[in-house]
Structure formats: structure tokens, C-alpha cells
């Protein structure tokens, strides 16, 4: 009997596959759709204090090996967002990871307090939105100090396990990862979108995205995601890691586990293989376990 069930921070998940923040997760119906296809954990769209309508379109553009998006953190705001979780709870027991976004420790802490009264199982801090950055394109939370500050502050008020979602777009990723762990993060989530990048329409002589640039996701960022997970482990990170970035097949998911992840996010792959991708990848992982005579997900974790 091969086994996909896994334990994450004390919560039982039916599969190591996670719906990451921002993909099909505006409303409880989307959570239901995706969990129905076998995702073990649902992450909400990153919620901010107030509703945000996001950037003007075009907000997505397909590029070789992936996709650029500049959704612009559109979300209905924390209060309506928590309502969606409540609605989902009425129809499903699949655990929910509540993603929040703010621009400073105070803002995160305020949202984290709201999370205490929510039906969510985990709180994820989106410390890595490529759309909010200073004039030199530096993500707000590129610094170890800021990351540590936000996490400590949130931890001091929040009853839920806290997951720090990190940006790959920094010179020294593992230093930030270590700072996050030291500050008390219960788990890390990596990676957010890469870049950002630009696509140009040569007929119009214009950037395709109205926001000019957007975060790169999809298959082509997988090698970088695998490296950052692998290097985080090598650097001594022992807390759980949700690894994501381009995971599209069972083979990809197995690679991510082998690199050192405990759970595996599947986002942009929904574009390539539909929401059924969760069911498909679950099956593909099972076939791999079968063929290589492994029994549990834990048998392949960190084996490279």
C-alpha cells in the first residue's frame, strides 16, 4: 500500500499537494473545486486589509516555459476573505492556509489578529510580492531584518502556525530563510514568482502587461525553486518547507520532495493541465512510489 497521506505541523493532509496563494482561490467554490481534485491543503489568495481590485489588464501573458502575471494582489479584503473560508468549512474539512499581505510588521500583525478568529489552519505571510517594491525593484522583505521583525511580531499575537513565504529575487536567499526560521516561523513556503519579467508586443511596440512587468511562474522556474529548497536544507533549515515553482507533473513533485520539501505547491500547472492536475499528480506520485517500491512520501524526502 502506497501512501500519500502526510502530516504537516500536526495536521493530517490527504496529499502533499498544496494549492498556492493566487491560483483559483478567490472564493470558497474554487477551494472546493481544487480540494475535490485532491489538493491536500488550500491556500487563500493573499488577503489585504481592504479589498483591492488589482492592476488593469492585461494581467497575464504566457512566455516560453511559463507565465508572467501582475494580478496586483486583487482580493476582497480580509473580512470577505474570512467569510469564504467559513463557507468552505461548512462543506469541507480540507485544511486551509490563510495567506495575508501587508507592507510592514504592523500591517501583518493587524491581519494576523483577525486570523485568530478564523477557520483557517495555518497563516501564511506573503513577504515576497514582486509588485510592491522600492524604486530599485527591491522587494519589501528582501532584508533579513525586516523578515525577522514581521515574523516575531506576528508570532507574538497569532494562535495559528505561521508560514513565511519567501522571494527568490534576493542575492542571498538562504540568509533570509535562516532569519525567518530563527524569528520563529513554523514553516517556510518557497518560492514566490521569479523576476519580475517583461514581455513586449513588437507589433504595438508596447509592454504586454499594463503594469509593464509581472512575476514569472511555471515550469521554467522549477530549477531555481529546487535549488533554493535544496540550499535551504543544506544551510540548516529543519522546519517544514512547502516547495513550489513550476511543479506540473508527478516527476516534478518527486523532484521537489527529493530536494527537501515536505509539501509541494501546484499553481501555474492548472493552466497547462486544468484543476484536475492535482488528481493527476497524486496518481503520478503513487505510480512512482509503486515502481520504485517506496512506501511513503517520507521515503523520498531529501534523498538527493
Amino acid at each position: 500500500m502506497k501512501e500519500l497521506r502526510t502530516d504537516f505541523l500536526g495536521v493530517k493532509l490527504s496529499s502533499p499537494l498544496v494549492l498556492p496563494a493566487g491560483v483559483l482561490d478567490i472564493s470558497f467554490s474554487s477551494y472546493k473545486l481544487v480540494s475535490g481534485y485532491g489538493a491536500g491543503l488550500i491556500t487563500t489568495k493573499s488577503l489585504t486589509k481592504e479589498a483591492r481590485k488589482g492592476h488593469e489588464g492585461p494581467v497575464v501573458t504566457e512566455v516560453e516555459g511559463g507565465m508572467l502575471n501582475c494580478m496586483g494582489l486583487c482580493n476582497p479584503g480580509i473580512f470577505e476573505g474570512l467569510e469564504e473560508i467559513k463557507r468552505f468549512r461548512e462543506i469541507s474539512n480540507v485544511p486551509v492556509n490563510l495567506s495575508i499581505f501587508a507592507t510592514d510588521a504592523e500591517g501583518f500583525t493587524e491581519l494576523a489578529k483577525e486570523a485568530n478568529s478564523s477557520k483557517a489552519d495555518f497563516l501564511e505571510l506573503n513577504l515576497s510580492c514582486p509588485n510592491v517594491s522600492d524604486e530599485f525593484g527591491v522587494p519589501l522583505a528582501a532584508s533579513e531584518k525586516t523578515v525577522a521583525e514581521i515574523i516575531s511580531s506576528v508570532k507574538s499575537v497569532c494562535r495559528l502556525p505561521v508560514i513565511a513565504k519567501l522571494s527568490p529575487n534576493v542575492t542571498s536567499f538562504t540568509r533570509v530563510a535562516l532569519a525567518a526560521a530563527d524569528a520563529g516561523a513554523d514553516a517556510l513556503c518557497m518560492i514566490n514568482t521569479l523576476g519580475p519579467g517583461i514581455d513586449i508586443d513588437i507589433e504595438a511596440g508596447r509592454p504586454v502587461l499594463f503594469n509593464v512587468s509581472g512575476g514569472l511562474s511555471g515550469p521554467c522556474i522549477k530549477p531555481i525553486a529546487l535549488r533554493l529548497v535544496y540550499e535551504s536544507r543544506k544551510a540548516g533549515i529543519t522546519i517544514p518547507i512547502i516547495g513550489m515553482g513550476g511543479i506540473t507533473s508527478g516527476e516534478d513533485a518527486v523532484q521537489m520532495l527529493m530536494a527537501g520539501a515536505d509539501l509541494v505547491g501546484v499553481g501555474t500547472a492548472v493552466y497547462y493541465r486544468g484543476p484536475e492536475v492535482f488528481e493527476k499528480i497524486n496518481d503520478e506520485i503513487l505510480s512512482f512510489l509503486e515502481r520504485k517500491d517506496y512506501h511513503f512520501i517520507s521515503d523520498i524526502k531529501r534523498i538527493i
Binding site: A51, G57, G77, P275
Partner: protein, 296 residues
């Protein structure tokens, strides 16, 4: 390899349908079926969904109503101005013998095509394809709803189908002086009365409340497809913006053409829509009145 190639090209033709509605034609060879839509942008802010109102495989038309900032800017465009489209996206209407649906052959297929406002143009392409699939022109009933007579769309085009294909589709214009006065639903009821036993399928396309108002007039076994509008951002099924409750159907992928069985599950249909942010926006009485009364 990029699955979803965008096409950026000059506007080939602009046809003024009414004061507030124009058809934009592009020399773009996109495979598309009736009910499907494209995303259109001019790279100046906004990319919006529009149903395909005509296509012959070599050129493609959308018919657009001026309602807000984006569409107003489009109305300032001239022939030769460059815009960019991607698609075609989404599910399409049933065509007997062409795609899956009820087991009715073209000859016995007697559909009513009910369109409100800019919901009508996609039904024009549908009517063409139905005729092409062998549905007798006399079997096809078109119900067009508009606020005033001036808002009634595509009357000539539907008439033209009669010229192009023998046995013209019947174009019934509603709610305008001198024609049927009332709602789309009222018109449908009227038609249904007049053609009892002759109508065995309904296509509707327009605001939720207009489509919903048709339903009380449907017999229980009547099969139908409704074309839905929801806020669209990605149009490729990942952002979640267009998802309807509680089934999780993505209007940009599994929709915009939904079958009866899908429609019956909806709890937001005619009750609320989601805004750009994802927050819930309940249809107000005013909107309901507007939609019911004006079919738009």
C-alpha cells in the same frame, strides 16, 4: 512553445450598429465556435472579454457596446489602429451533429435564440452555424431584447441570413413601440405560445436577470444553454476571478456557455456577481429592473 499566442493587428473594419454599439472586424485567422470570446486590449489599460459575433476562419468580429472607460476608448479607434486579441476562449454553443449535447438531429432542431443587449451578437454567429449544420431556417426563432427600438441589434444581419441561406431565421424585436412590448421573458412566452411544440431548445445570452426571467416559461424537460458574463482577468482558468458558486465552474473555461444542469446548480445566478476584487456584488433591485426591463 507558447499555447496561447496573442495577435496584435490593425482594426480592419468598424461598423456602426447603433449609436452605442459597434462591430470591430479583424483579419485574424482564429479558430472559434459560437459562444466563445476573445480578450481584447489596446495596451492602454484594461483587457476585456468580448463574444465573437462573426468569423469565417479568416476574419473575426466582435460587437461592442460603449458602457465605460475601456469601451469608450475603443469607440475612438479608427480603422488601422492597432489592438491586440487573444483567444478564442471558453465553451461554445451546441450545434446538432457537431458537438455533444442532446440527441436531436439538425432537421428536427427547433431552437429559440434569446439575446439581450450585447448578448445578441454571439447568437448571430450561432444562427449561421446552425444553418450551416442543416437546421432549417424556419426552425430558428431569434428573440432580441433591447431598451428602445434603437438598441435592437443585428436585425438586418439576421434578416440577411435569410438571404444567404434559404428560409430566413425569424427576427423578433421586442420592447419597442410597434413591436412586442415587454420583457424578453414575455416575448419568449409569447413565442413559445405561438410556436407550441415547435421549440425544443433555448439559447440565451445576456444579463443574468434577463436569462433567469426566461426560466419560469420553460417546460421541465426543455434543454438549454445560457451564456454567462463574469468578471474576467486571466481568461485562461487560473486567477479564479470568474468562478461561480458553489460548483467552482470557471466561466472562462467551462463557460461561458453553460448547460441547464450546470445552471441549475448555481446559487449566484441572478443573485450576485463578483467584482474585480472578488468581493460579492448583489444585484440590486434597480439592476434587476434595468435588466428585466431593458434586457441589458
Amino acid at each position: 512553445m507558447i499555447k496561447d499566442k496573442r495577435i496584435t493587428l490593425p482594426i480592419a473594419e468598424i461598423i456602426e450598429e447603433t449609436a452605442e454599439v459597434r462591430t470591430f472586424k479583424f483579419d485574424a485567422g482564429i479558430e472559434a465556435s459560437p459562444g466563445q470570446f476573445i480578450m481584447l486590449t489596446d495596451f492602454n489599460g484594461g483587457e476585456k472579454p468580448f463574444s465573437i459575433s462573426d468569423t469565417d476562419g479568416k476574419s473575426l468580429s466582435v460587437t461592442i457596446k460603449r458602457v465605460g472607460q475601456f469601451t469608450a476608448r475603443l469607440f475612438e479607434k479608427r480603422i488601422g489602429d492597432i489592438v491586440s486579441i487573444r483567444g478564442a476562449y471558453g465553451s461554445s454553443f451546441f450545434i446538432p451533429g457537431k458537438n455533444s449535447g442532446p440527441n436531436i438531429d439538425a432537421a428536427n432542431f427547433r431552437p429559440a435564440l434569446c439575446g439581450g443587449g450585447f448578448g445578441l451578437p454571439p447568437l448571430y454567429l450561432l444562427a449561421k452555424k446552425l444553418l450551416k449544420a442543416g437546421v432549417p431556417a424556419g426552425n430558428i426563432k431569434v428573440i432580441s431584447a433591447g431598451r428602445t427600438e434603437n438598441d435592437l441589434l443585428f436585425e438586418k444581419q439576421f434578416g440577411g441570413l435569410g438571404v444567404d441561406y434559404t428560409g430566413a431565421a425569424e427576427s423578433v424585436a421586442l420592447m419597442s413601440p410597434g413591436r412586442f412590448k415587454g420583457t424578453a421573458a414575455g416575448a419568449f412566452a409569447e413565442i413559445a405560445k405561438g410556436v407550441t411544440g415547435l421549440c425544443n431548445f433555448v439559447y440565451a445570452s445576456g444579463p443574468d436577470l434577463m436569462m433567469k426571467s426566461l426560466m419560469p416559461h420553460f417546460s421541465e424537460e426543455l434543454e438549454y444553454q445560457f451564456l454567462f458574463e463574469r468578471y474576467m482577468k486571466c481568461a485562461i482558468g487560473i486567477c479564479g476571478s470568474c468562478v461561480v458558486d458553489p460548483s467552482g465552474i470557471r466561466i472562462c473555461k467551462e463557460g461561458p456557455a453553460l448547460w441547464k444542469a450546470q445552471v441549475e446548480q448555481l446559487k449566484d445566478f441572478g443573485v450576485y456577481r463578483r467584482k474585480a476584487s472578488g468581493s460579492i456584488d448583489y444585484f440590486t433591485d434597480r439592476m434587476a429592473v434595468k435588466a428585466e426591463g431593458a434586457g441589458e
